[in-house]
């Protein structure tokens, strides 16, 4: 909008002059010397008010200036708008009537003089047929105030009051008259400042009334009294109310003017100029022209009144008339008035655009904008110089810029940077229509860009101006004429200024740049980063034309560094940016950029630039290079034709071992690019792995026929990092410890399109996760060093493993650059030595442990031992030196931690003994032995080896028992002198057992469950406890188990014991029981002689006394006196003993049945009386008729009283079944031994 005359497009607000508040004399706006001469001076003689309050009031008024407010109706807080101009005490008013020209002869009749701004006045620039120009607008906006707001002070000094008041009155009247005489209708408003407060100002009421009366001012709207003795905020409010009242006056003023203009239009004829034109065509302004003028005036006055709708209507009327058939169409294209009319059309359109935007009709505004463009286009094509020249494009650019400026002024909330849409939605009444997309008002950035585009068309057309036309007019006059008609010079220079043949003309690039930068600014504000990047690219092209290389660098380098186009894969755009930037970088000498861009451009994805060398080593050719600059780039900023990956073959590896890995470098360069020779490749790891560095070894020459995938094996050796390349790094960190890296050598030439694979074994160090973090490839041609870092990121893509023989690729796994290094495997062996086949309960178990160090260095070892299981016995550990440590014993486990074994030398072993206490019974338990050690060379790494053993401890024996009654030799006698009834009082309880003693035979059969022969040392039966006031003694009947008796696995041995139980009291008839335990003392045959293991087998509870009568059968064999033939008949004695422990007198009937097996002597039937606590024996002599067989004497013993048959209980040498007892008749040959044996038993039974 700056291209239009100043003031022509401003929004009109009432012009207010504030007089009497500032002392500084202000310059008048009246610039024209001619008018200045004729101007009317309005002057007040009273000096300005100079109090502090006056300054506050002035500042307060000036703050209300509305000239820079946004052009919208948003801010309605103030009901008035003014353009405020503070002056001293005087100002100039332009003359109402123009003067006649100097040399003009006064005609006879008086001439009608018109305003100097009117086309009627000969002095005016519009004379005789101009329409209207900016000067008229200026007159009303800057020269003729609507209101002259004059401040005076009212003195409080009563002595001076009259004098001052009179001066005041005189001055007001003088000013009023001066304004009145000027012919302008500006209104005078007087504000009298009093130093009183609002409450005390009343005392001057009379004086003020006096002033008002003598000046004829209306106290409602033209005379205000302002007491200044009040707070500042109050004062501001008071000023506000004054201005509000004044604004009404101003509105009234402009309404009067508007009415005047309409009245003139209504006259319906064209006024005649003061003097008829004599020069030129003597054409005067037509009636339609006058109507344009009047409508325009009406519209402007409406705008002054802030009546936007009214203004819009009038503007449209003026516009229609102007472009109608009678005004612009009649002006010839060569006439300067044509361009004036175009300018007026533009101004009217812009003003009505403003009104449309003001009222929020943005889509209508765009249509209006478009319509004007089209209409002017049509007009210029028909009547002007056509639209195919630079002038038209220049105007199109201006026209777009105007819209951008308007949008800026209007400040739509929908187009603020925070808005979502880049355009404003259409008005409601238009939203249903078919709209052109452009008709939705886009933000100013778009408009600036369109302007820039028009400007480049302008340049294109300007550059095509023929040579002749570009010469300045004084040089050639031949083409002058033609030129005048073929170039549109509306608002743009002549061709010889536009693009002169000599010298510089219009700086098109700068014009374009300005628009582009404005546009870019807007897009950036709205985060339209891609669009602003696009504009930056366009701007860079202009800079390129202007050879402002530094600016290109500033503009494009940040863009190039992180381009969204790169991540999004827009190769064409990247390419454009790169080439422009490279060109600039060469000029500026920015070596790192040149190399980096060359590096990037090698990628096959770009289109090939013909003739380009595509050799990275030549990147800095033609650039002044001092030294060998180091250029660091990474794939975060630059894409590259080189892609690298690092793949571990295995997902896991163990520390101390190595894992095969492949480093693959793929080149995507142009097929005809020069192969890239890398100087080094460096792979950095995260985790415990060491950096790998491959160095170039120009060994084998590769030709272009080399395979597409080339796999080579590279040996890595440990080397100290020499840091020759990393001098900058090491200087930063200072005294960095020299690190060990793995180094290898190979040919690092990568042909275009080739994949180089370097296979190597990577030594794994410490446990934990490790991954390759970055790959840095370096190049070192003569002129520079390039280091390109490729970060390796987590991807879920699978890796490829290239095999050496074939080029088949095997998919390994995802994230193949990671490896999980497992802890170092322990090389310590823990084992049990000399274990026995089976361990038994109740023996003390010794386990011998051997810890063998298979590491290469000595190990400091500790041992943890843990037994777990149910009821595990405690243990001790005996180390090599014999020191013992007892374990802790807990119900579920017993353990012993941290037994120091000391240092085990390499490949030596150390032994320890675990001695387990005898287990009470069979148990199953686990033995966990943990050897914790660390190497002498590496104390930081704990290593653990552990072994678990399963231990099953079984009982070596099991036994079964049989208790059978025997005839005890002792029986209490009636004739004993000791009276049992008196005994208990006197005797000790231990010795006072007087009850019936009964004898039992306990037969135990024990079986060996061991896996081997065991030596039985001793057998015994112990009485653990008795119940029922009885005592019990046991004795071995025979010395069955002597020293060295062995029992084989799975055999059963029998042992007999004698048991005598005696009740304490004879009268106590309750049964008594006894708990017995069978004890076996044994040892292994292999264990030392003095070892005694004791296995105790508890017996079930036995009843050891009975109070019922019982019948015991005993047998004894006739032993012939020595010397008698042993072949005599065998005679047996069967003793039937009936015991009656009860206190009853019992009668038994005995009946012996004859049998085939034997003959007998004795009572066949008899009756036996048994006294209480007595026993009797009946003996039968049997002569068996069979030999070597069991015979059954069928004897029935019956309790006569109860009629109950008693069971006959067999004793030694007999056996019984359910039918009765059986007696063994020995065979003849065995008689001797048998009789002896039996005889022994018989004797004792008797």
């Amino acid at each position: 909008m700056d291209d239009y005359p100043a003031g022509s497009l401003d929004h009109n607000v009432p012009f207010l002059i504030v007089s009497g508040l500032s002392t500084a004399p202000t310059k008048s706006n009246l610039k024209d010397p001619g008018l200045r001469e004729q101007a009317v001076l309005v002057r007040s003689e009273i000096p300005p008010v100079e109090s502090r309050e006056a300054k506050i009031i002035l500042r307060c008024i000036q703050e209300r200036d509305a000239t820079n407010l946004p052009w919208n109706s948003q801010d309605s807080s103030k009901r008035y708008k003014f353009k405020i101009k503070p002056i001293g005490r005087e100002f100039l008013l332009p003359p109402r009537r123009a003067r006649l020209p100097e040399n003009f002869e006064e005609p006879s009749s008086p001439l009608i003089l018109h305003s100097p701004f009117s086309p009627l006045s000969p002095g005016s620039s519009l004379y005789p047929d101009g329409l209207i120009d900016t000067r008229w607008l200026q007159k009303h906006q800057e020269l003729v105030p609507s209101i002259c707001l004059t401040f005076y002070s009212l003195t409080s000094d009563s002595t001076l009051a009259t004098l001052h008041d009179n001066q005041l009155k005189a001055d007001i009247n003088a000013v009023k008259n001066a304004i009145g005489q000027s012919g302008h209708r500006c209104r005078l408003v007087v504000v009298i400042l009093s130093d009183q407060s609002p409450s005390t100002v009343g005392q001057f009421q009379e004086r003020l009334e006096n002033v008002r009366r003598s000046t004829g001012l209306d106290p409602k709207n033209s005379l205000f009294v302002l007491p200044t003795q009040r707070p500042e905020a109050d004062l501001e409010n008071a000023v506000d109310s004054v201005l509000t009242a004044v604004f009404d006056q101003a509105t009234e003023y402009y309404r009067d003017l508007g009415r005047h203009a309409r009245k003139k239009k209504a006259r319906g004829y064209a006024p005649q100029p003061t003097i008829p034109p004599t020069t030129g065509t003597s054409h005067t302004l037509s009636l339609q022209g006058w109507n344009v003028r009047y409508d325009f005036k009406t519209a402007v006055f409406a705008e002054f009144r802030q009546e936007i709708d009214t203004a819009l209507r009038s503007y449209e009327q003026a516009y229609d008339t102007l472009l109608g058939a009678d005004v612009l169409e009649t002006i010839p294209g060569w006439s300067p008035r044509f361009n004036d009319a175009r300018l007026l059309a533009d101004i009217i359109t812009i003003r009505s655009l403003k009104c449309l935007l003001w009222t929020g009709q943005s889509t209508a505004a765009v249509r209006r904008w478009q319509a004007h463009h089209d209409r002017i286009c049509d007009l210029v094509d028909r009547r002007g110089r056509g639209t195919q020249n630079y002038g038209w494009k220049a105007w199109e650019a201006i026209w777009s810029t105007v819209m951008a400026n308007l949008i800026e002024k209007v400040q739509f909330p929908e187009l603020q940077p925070s808005a979502i849409l880049p355009y404003r939605p259409p008005e409601k009444n238009l939203s249903a229509e078919r709209l052109q997309p452009w008709e939705l008002l886009h933000h100013q950035g778009y408009w600036y860009r369109v302007a820039a585009r028009h400007l480049s068309s302008r340049r294109r057309l300007a550059l095509s101006i023929p040579e002749d036309d570009r010469k300045s007019p004084d040089q050639s006059s031949a083409s002058q004429l033609r030129k005048g008609y073929s170039y549109d010079t509306y608002m743009c220079p002549e061709p010889h200024h536009e693009y002169p043949s000599v010298g510089t003309g219009v700086n098109h690039s700068q014009l374009i740049l300005d628009r582009l930068m404005l546009a870019r600014n807007e897009f950036q504000k709205r985060h339209q980063i891609r669009t602003s990047a696009e504009l930056a690219l366009e701007a860079a092209r202009e800079f390129e034309r202007m050879q402002r290389w530094k600016d290109i660098m500033n503009l494009l380098a940040p863009l190039w560094r992180d381009m969204s186009f790169r991540t999004e894969g827009r190769w064409d755009i990247m390419e454009a940016v790169c080439w422009i930037l490279r060109g600039a970088a060469v000029k500026v000498g920015q070596k790192d950029l040149i190399v980096a861009i060359d590096w990037e451009l090698l990628n096959r994805g770009f289109s090939r630039r013909p003739g380009w060398h595509y050799d990275i080593t030549k990147a800095l050719d033609g650039v002044a290079v001092d030294g060998q600059p180091l250029i660091d780039i990474s794939d975060e900023h630059v894409t590259s034709f080189i892609q690298a990956s690092f793949v571990f073959k295995n997902e896991e590896g163990k520390a101390g071992q190595s894992c095969p890995a492949q480093l693959s470098i793929t080149s995507n360069a142009f097929p005809d690019a020069i192969p890239v020779v890398l100087s080094a490749i460096r792979v950095e790891f995260e985790g415990s792995l060491r950096t790998i560095r491959l160095k170039h070894d120009p060994g084998d020459k590769q030709t272009s026929s080399s395979p597409k995938v080339r796999v080579t094996k590279t040996a890595l050796v440990e080397a100290e990092a020499t840091d020759d390349e990393d001098s900058d790094d090491s200087s930063e960190t200072g005294s960095q410890t020299t690190s060990i890296i793995l180094e290898g050598m190979d040919d690092l030439t990568v042909l275009p399109g080739q994949t180089r694979v370097f296979e190597m074994d990577v030594a794994l160090r410490e446990p934990g996760d490790a991954n390759a973090s970055s790959i840095q490839i370096s190049m070192a041609p003569k002129s520079f060093i390039l280091r390109y870092t490729i970060g390796i990121r987590d991807t879920n893509s699978v890796g490829l493993w290239y095999s050496q023989s074939s080029s088949r690729k095997k998919v390994t796994r995802i994230n193949p650059h990671k490896i999980n290094v497992l802890p170092r495997p322990p090389k310590m062996e823990v084992r049990l030595v000399n274990t026995l086949e089976q361990y038994y309960a109740s023996e003390s178990i010794e386990l011998e442990l051997e810890v063998l160090n298979e590491e290469d260095v000595d190990a400091i070892t500790k041992l943890d031992v843990l037994f777990s299981g149910h009821d595990v016995p405690s243990f001790k550990v005996q180390d090599q030196d014999g020191g013992e440590r007892p374990s802790s014993a807990e119900p579920a486990e017993s353990k012993l931690d941290g037994i120091p074994l000391g240092t085990i030398p390499s490949s030596k072993s150390i032994r320890a003994k675990i001695i387990l206490d005898p287990a009470k019974g069979p148990i199953v338990c686990n033995l966990l032995v943990k050897a914790r050690y660390h190497l002498v060379s590496d104390p930081g790494t704990p290593i653990i080896q552990q072994e678990t053993y399963h231990l099953n401890i079984v009982n070596p024996f099991e036994a079964s028992y049989d208790l059978s009654p025997r005839l005890h030799s002792e029986w209490p006698s009636y004739f004993s002198i000791e009276d049992p009834r008196h005994a208990p009082e006197r005797d000790q309880p231990a010795g006072s057992f007087r009850g019936i003693a009964q004898k039992w035979s306990l037969a135990t059969r024990y079986a060996s469950f061991a896996h081997e022969d065991l030596a039985i040392l001793d057998l015994d039966v112990n009485v653990l406890s008795t119940q029922g006031n009885a005592r019990c003694t046991t004795s071995k009947t025979q010395t069955t188990a002597g020293d060295g008796v062995t029992i084989s696995p799975k055999t059963i041995e029998e042992a007999q014991f004698e048991l005598v139980a005696q009740k304490q009291d004879l009268d106590d008839r309750a049964p008594a029981t006894a708990d017995l335990a069978f004890t076996i003392k044994w040892r292994r045959l292999t264990s030392p002689e003095n070892t005694v293991n004791t296995t105790i087998l508890p017996l079930p509870r036995f009843f050891v006394t009975t109070s019922e009568p019982r019948v015991l059968a005993g047998v004894s064999y006739y032993a012939p006196p020595p010397g008698l033939s042993s072949s005599a008949e065998q005679l047996l004695f069967l003793d039937i003993t009936i015991e009656n422990p009860s206190s009853h007198f019992l009668t038994f009937g005995l009946m012996m049945d004859p049998s085939d097996e034997f003959a007998f002597s004795g009572a066949k039937t008899t009756t036996l009386n048994v006294l209480p606590v007595a026993r009797r024996t009946v003996t039968y002599r049997l002569l068996p008729l069979v030999r070597g067989a069991w015979i059954r004497p069928t004897l029935v013993v019956r309790d006569k009283y109860f009629q109950k048959v008693l069971k006959i209980i067999p004793t030694e040498g007999m056996k019984g079944d359910k039918d009765g007892v059986l007696v063994w008749v020995p065979a003849e040959d065995e008689e001797d031994g048998a009789s002896e044996d039996e005889g022994g038993g018989e004797e004792s039974a008797k």
């Binding site: 449209e316 229609d320 472009l323 249509r367 478009q370 319509a371 089209d374 209409r375 286009c377 049509d378 909330p413 808005a419 979502i420 849409l421 880049p422 404003r424 939605p425 259409p426 008005e427 939203s431 229509e433 078919r434 709209l435 052109q436 997309p437 452009w438 008709e439 939705l440 778009y446 860009r449 369109v450 897009f523 709205r526 339209q528 980063i529 891609r530 669009t531 992180d562 969204s564 186009f565 790169r566 991540t567 999004e568 894969g569 827009r570 190769w571 064409d572 755009i573 794939d635 975060e636 900023h637 630059v638 894409t639 590259s640 892609q643 490729i790 970060g791 990121r793 991807t795 879920n796």
Partner: protein, 238 residues
Amino acid sequence: MATAIPSIACLGVIGRNNNPLHITIFPSYDVATNKRAPLRTPLQFSLLLSSTLDVFEARRRASSSTSQSGGSGGGGAGAAAPVVTGDFGLLHAVDERLAAYGFETNTGVKFVAVVDMRGRFAATGPGGTGFGAGGVGVGGGGGGLGGTGDRAMSLGVGAGVRGGVGLREQELRVVFRAMQTAYVRLLQNPFYDPDEHAPLMPAGGSGGGSGGKRITSRKFAEEMRRIGEGWAPGVTSL
């Protein structure tokens, strides 16, 4: 006088990672030279498609932050409301002729149709030969044409070279529907791996990522061409 009617100037398919998947450029009719030629260079179209991403992003930001913000603009409620259908409507117009309309599928693939508002001439224009589809378009959009024409006259504009045929956002839906159908057909091809074209994680790192492959299917390209050439305002099926 020939009436300029809108035509498709460029169809673009943009992947989930904002990477270009496909671009087809269509020639526009040029009055001055009486030829059909693309309005811009391929680079410019590429930039134009890329610039629409700014708008996609802004719209998505807005719709995710608050759903009511769209209503603040009064008339803008319809256009800026949270996108449910995936149809973004008008993204922006770059000048009087070119305007970009957008559609986003729920997998983040974006279709952009760049419309040249004066890309074709209906009726008896000198270049009118072989523009059968254009004729159909005028028939369909006749009502709208009349309406806008009247409005233009009331503003004192001679209809002139500039066609009065405006465009409703809904009229592009058929294009997007057809594009989506074509894209779905492409996806049904077992040899087409969408992840290859828009990797979840860019393969070569954030900086070096090429975004993904482009669509190379010839059938898809032919389909795009058919859609672009067949469309005119008022066409209801493609």
